[in-house]
């Protein structure tokens, strides 16, 4: 079966883990990896795994986009360079999956709103943050039953799984995730907290979701909705697991989750890495399926 050819921009933890996820996809094929450091471990590994590589940034990829029929690019660089990367590739008709906190395109959490983005033929979709991917499905599972006045999420990450980009820009992580709790999760107000824990052996990613409903929560319907949503996420992140809850205190609904990764590039504790790359891959697959079925055709974006 024909596959849609992909480029990966950024040769760090996320980019490297994406190679494994995309190679496993029935509809995607990783062809290029883009870095900026010719000696980086990520580029070396990509070459070993059969990808073409450039250390010249996105400009090193551009001359090959049309010849190699690249249609989807994953950007795992930083918010600062994403906008330029996106503009250059969109002009060539390449659709962007943005894994940085740049969020210039609409925010995507696959089980909540991926379908809408594919129908609209968006040329840039943003994957928010690892904490967003892990928690927003649950906020949405509550808000689709009854209105949520406020939702708060707490993500605990193993120190070894948090790269230098996230560390140096924690505020962006906080703002992007808090905003997505509202926009995608459906809560009227949102707040995100991140904790980086250095315990050895490393702790598996943990997430706690609190929702305050306007009216007394319907325990049975909310519980059912949450369990159904967890099943949806488990389709692409098998290690997504309910540990405790939902538990109800007045109008507060609390859910305690654990996210184990597949252990592709980083070990299983780095569920935060996996849920990001798995969600990005799932998003790309949806677009790829539509392209392959002839339902949508990506178009070059004209820029003024």
């Amino acid at each position: 079966m024909k596959k849609i050819k992909c480029a990966l921009i950024g040769s760090g933890n996320i980019g490297t883990d994406l190679i494994y996820k995309i190679k496993r996809s029935p509809v995607l094929e990783p062809v290029w990896m883009v870095g900026i450091d010719p000696t980086s471990e990520g580029l070396a590994r990509a070459r070993e795994m059969g990808l073409k590589t450039t250390a010249e940034g996105v400009d090193g990829l551009l001359p090959h986009v049309l010849d190699d029929d690249i249609q989807i690019a994953f950007d795992a660089t930083s918010a600062y360079v994403h906008a330029e990367n996106s503009r250059k590739l969109n002009e060539l008709g390449v659709m962007m999956i943005d894994l940085t906190p740049a969020a210039i395109g609409p925010l995507c959490v696959p089980p909540v709103n991926l379908r809408q983005h594919a129908d609209k033929l968006e040329m840039n979709v943003n994957m928010i943050s690892c904490a967003g991917q892990a928690t927003i499905p649950i906020v949405n599972a509550v808000s689709r039953i009854q209105s949520v006045e406020y939702a708060e999420i707490v993500a605990s990450l193993a120190s070894k799984s948090v790269g230098p980009g996230t560390r140096a820009n924690l505020d962006e992580f906080t703002f992007t995730t808090s905003n997505a709790i509202k926009v995608v999760g459906g809560a009227r107000r949102g707040k995100a907290l991140a904790i980086i824990n250095p315990a050895e052996p490393p702790m598996i990613m943990r997430n706690t979701i609190y929702c305050l409903t306007d009216d007394e929560p319907d325990h049975a319907r909310i519980t059912e909705s949450i369990l159904q949503m967890i099943g949806e996420v488990q389709k692409y992140v098998p290690g997504y697991k309910l540990v405790n809850g939902p538990i109800f205190d007045g109008n507060k609904v609390s859910v305690f989750l654990e996210v184990a990764g597949l252990g592709d590039y980083l070990p299983k504790y780095a569920g935060n890495l996996d849920i990001m790359t798995a969600a990005a891959t799932r998003t790309a697959e949806m677009f790829a399926e539509e392209i392959l079925a002839g339902k949508i055709q990506l178009k070059a974006v004209e820029t003024a």
Binding site: V154, S159, L170, T174, P198, A199, E200, M203, T223
Partner: protein, 355 residues
Amino acid sequence: MMSQSNTSSSLKGRKVVLHDMCLRDGMHAKREQISVEQMVKVATALDDAGIPYVQVTHGAGLGGNSLQHGFALATNEEYISAVASKMKQAKVSVLLIPGLGTMKELQSAYDAGARSVHVATHCTEADTSPQHIAYARKLGMDTTGFLMMSHLNDAAGIAQQGKLMESYGAQTIYVTDSAGYMLPDDVKARVGALREVLKPETEIGFHGHHNLGMGIANSIAAIEAGASRIDGSVAGLGAGAGNTPLEVFAAVCERMGIVTGVDLFKLMDVAEDVIVPMMDHIVRVDRESLTLGYAGVYSTFLLHAKRAAERFGVPARDILVELGRQKMIGGQEDMIQDTAMTMAKARGLLQGAAA
């Protein structure tokens, strides 16, 4: 006749800056329920007693108002501006933990009158603070890098983390014994290692908790090793068994000839007449707060664990020991209820989840 014996004459004449935590760490002991009026009353009394720095925020600092950490009676800005406008000499400081508080909140705390900040990270995660430390310096604030749970990193590691914070712009580096677990030798080793690597003009501070009754001894050990700033709280109003009781510490300093510049008798009066009557429970070393110090658990977990114990029928001490075993750190208050629920299930006290 009683003579003022100076057994540690080596510290005679050393200047130490005291930083009161009643209105920040003390918020934990009050479940964040200190009113604006109470804050003003406490802060003006401390100001009058000559305390140079008074920390004023939600117990978890800027951005702390949350389901995770509880909601205070007023916003941080309301507390800060009410207090700052009444200070004659004291500076108002705030706590900022990256991942919870943001630079936006630091700016608004500054606008409300805060002029000093503890930028706090776990003792191995200093590299989550560069933006916030740099921003505080840009605002012209007295800027501290605050290494929480310092017992979980060795002296060389603390020195390296402190050096990072200094490189971001921090003017003072704190060894922070959040669990009240450290003993004087532990404090000396860490402060000493910092003193060796930091620039001479960079100050060192110590923030103690009294869970093993070592707050004062540890603070003196820190000064011996080169610290010049000490956090404490009058009457010990703080998380766990409280902070180093500041009036007691001031008395010890006076005996040793350490210069703090505060009025000891006025400080004693604030403790007895203002702070103790405010306490919901007498802040002291009891079974649970001793467990914190013994097991190396974040002091703020105390009241959360007691609440979880009541609800799920698992003793607070068992929950705290388990949290220590799992190496939970500051900020992971959600894991207290989670751990209590998991333990309650294992003991047949709670039904398992449906999934």
